[in-house]
Symmetry: D2
Subunit: 141 residues, 4 copies
């Protein structure tokens, strides 16, 4: 029913070929991702851009879902709420820690805390909801 | 700078005279509240009504703020996002556990996990933002 | 497929017997509700309480859904985001104007603008999502 | 106090040098932006990626703010909520129409409707909040 980290990494490479995150851990309704910060992720002034944070959080929830219900295509984000809490460091990787709060038949809700690596203070917090097909056809890669 | 539980309870009794929650604990950017469930809080079918959950969460963040920055009037809710996760029990108290994620100069952001007492599964999750006056005049009751 | 205003009013009287709103209009993915403001809706200082605004908005979306897909039980709020924009008048009714933005097979998303009657400035804005059963059994009252 | 479209375009080119949107109109608490869709904006299957939609909406609110209060640095996004409503076309530009709902002393709230050009149905809806310095030092370019 659930997918392994290797299966998820292979699937995500097909789905998001340009993405620069790395799946650090997945399983048990959770996931941890990291994202390198380079010139493409920064805005003038040295802030990590908001869309990068949203994007990493979105993928972290998606990965946690795949790890929980298996590789189910047609899983789509239906909503996402982000609160920006602190200015992220321009020199540290972004770490995303996701917990699924609800795994329902058609709706899954996850939350993500985002950190600059090496700090315990969250730079942002995300809640995302995902729609999954009621009858799920799992895919074997 | 911060307020004690007793000061907060006295202040809240003036601000929300009809409210039926109880402050269980407050301090260190956190608060725990409980709310009895009776006929007024239920909808036909035995569900705790959504506005009751929103209301308890809103107050829990407010209490955590007072416990952190002191009794500061003019603190107002600017936004609140609630995700309903599970049907709450009609027979158990609602427990709200709040953590402040950011305590800024003009903006405070808190999150609240809501439970039916005796269960570890959240029935709802709330993120709320509050505006506080930049220059704070604390009140002594 | 859709329900008339009279059918909705009868159904809502069973579902929310204590509610004090009035359905002013419904149809075409829209609804308009009003809510009287009395001592129960006010906080010290003369502000309409936040939970009253959230509650009216929640019901406005529910009414617009019933007017669009018919009286479908098991329709439940899954999330609600409110932004408080201005202090509502203590002396005017609250008017809620709802538009459904998406009517999907399992998910419906609506937005609500809330006004103090007589003013064109919104006091709050709400986005709510509702889960509906994929296969809908309509109810005839 | 407010900035012209030309001033805003010049400022945004400095702030977001890589961005691919175009400011179509700005003024009177509103803005309209367009964004070309190419291979970088698409995911496998031909959907415009979620982060692109969030990013365009974020910028649309920022542009509307600059058009209203002038070129004020230190204006930062504090929260953003997006609801994905329909699959955007892979072949049409994204059009973002922003309205500011509240322009406060320290907080500005805007909403954005996103369309695939040529369609009247929204593909997504965004509400964003921005923090502005209480005492604003405007910049002349």
């Amino acid at each position: 029913m659930s997918a392994t980290k290797e299966e998820i990494v292979a699937f995500m490479a097909l789905e998001f070929p340009q993405a620069k995150y790395k799946v650090e851990a997945v399983g048990d309704n959770r996931s941890t991702l990291s994202h390198d910060i380079g010139i493409d992720e920064l805005r003038p002034g040295g802030t990590v851009s908001g869309p990068v944070l949203m994007s990493v959080a979105d993928v972290a929830i998606y990965v946690a879902i795949l790890g929980t219900i298996g590789i189910v295509p047609l899983t789509v984000t239906t909503s996402l709420t982000i609160n920006f809490l602190r200015k992220p460091s321009a020199k540290a990787r972004i770490i995303a820690e996701c917990t699924l709060m609800k795994v329902g038949r058609t709706l899954i809700v996850g939350e993500v805390s985002l950190y600059s690596e090496g700090s315990d203070d969250r730079v942002a917090h995300v809640v995302g909801t995902y729609s999954v097909p009621p009858k799920r056809d799992e895919v074997t890669l």
